[in-house]
Subunit: 139 residues, 2 copies
DNA sequence: GTGTTTGCAAAGTGTTTGCAATTTA
DNA sequence: TAAATTGCAAACACTTTGCAAACAC
């Protein structure tokens, strides 16, 4: 597995998409773009912020996650109707979803071969292929 | 494409899983198990019930969809954080999701070749593989 | 009769929004 | 100082739940 971002560059991430580096965005960007692939929910991020003795309102976290997603810094992953996950890996890849821990785990695109896709419905074009391999705990 | 249920057998569907055929369940089962593959949301189903001059409360529709899902009559498909879809086709298959119309379209398992899956995370076993091919409108 | 099922209304949950105060450039 | 951003609290949409009345067997 190759990491595209070997070390943290939160400021560069923000300025690369033309966003003002406000203190809240910097706090979030540092947590998100720390060089590892992360899958976070708004609540998880909020908790991490508080844990680090800082403060960003939940509303701002939601707004920021969506802004980051719209600008291509994050990708939203829909696997659970209860909450949205945001992935710092915005390249094409897939996921295991552990239903026991509600945890997402990357599957590299190269680790799964998908054959030719059928033609999309008339008048529409494919934007993205998401494969979710759901798993449960072994008892 | 082969239909597993060439004609409607709502009563058989209910009794096969040991559910009492109450009038509400019969109304819903007739709409759902009409022999075609359907993808419905609770709201859609509610609307169809009202359109046919009948009445089932939304709460009962939600409860019934979940009971049917738990008993294997339906499969829940998660593609949109705004609402849950329920699929009358409970065999392994995949979907196109038209983001413009919010419509699900079946892709037969045989229409897509998926290579070997990576080993699932330690302590977990694969329960299901969901592929969602998202599409958008061509302008 | 007895346990199951229903429907209403209320509550719950994750998320979004309006808007005044604050911050950035 | 003009425009962007934040945070609060209220609003929101979808979904679930408590409970009394109705129903199935």
């Amino acid at each position: 597995m190759i990491l595209e971002r070997p070390y943290s560059r939160p400021l560069e991430q923000l300025s690369s998409v033309g966003l003002r580096p406000t203190s809240q965005r910097m706090i979030l960007a540092k947590l998100l773009f720390d060089g590892t692939r992360r899958h976070v929910t708004a609540e998880m991020l909020h908790y991490e912020v508080l844990k680090s003795q800082k403060k960003v309102s939940l509303a701002t976290i939601y707004n920021t996650l969506h802004i980051f997603t719209k600008l291509g810094l994050l990708r939203e992953i829909i696997v659970d109707s209860d909450c949205s996950y945001f992935d710092t890996n915005t390249t094409n890849h897939h996921h295991f979803y552990r239903e026991d821990t509600r945890e997402l785990i990357d599957i590299d695109e190269s680790d799964i071969q998908i054959g030719l896709l059928p033609k999309p419905p008339e008048g529409s074009q494919i934007t993205r292929v998401d494969m979710v391999v759901r798993t449960k705990k072994i008892y």
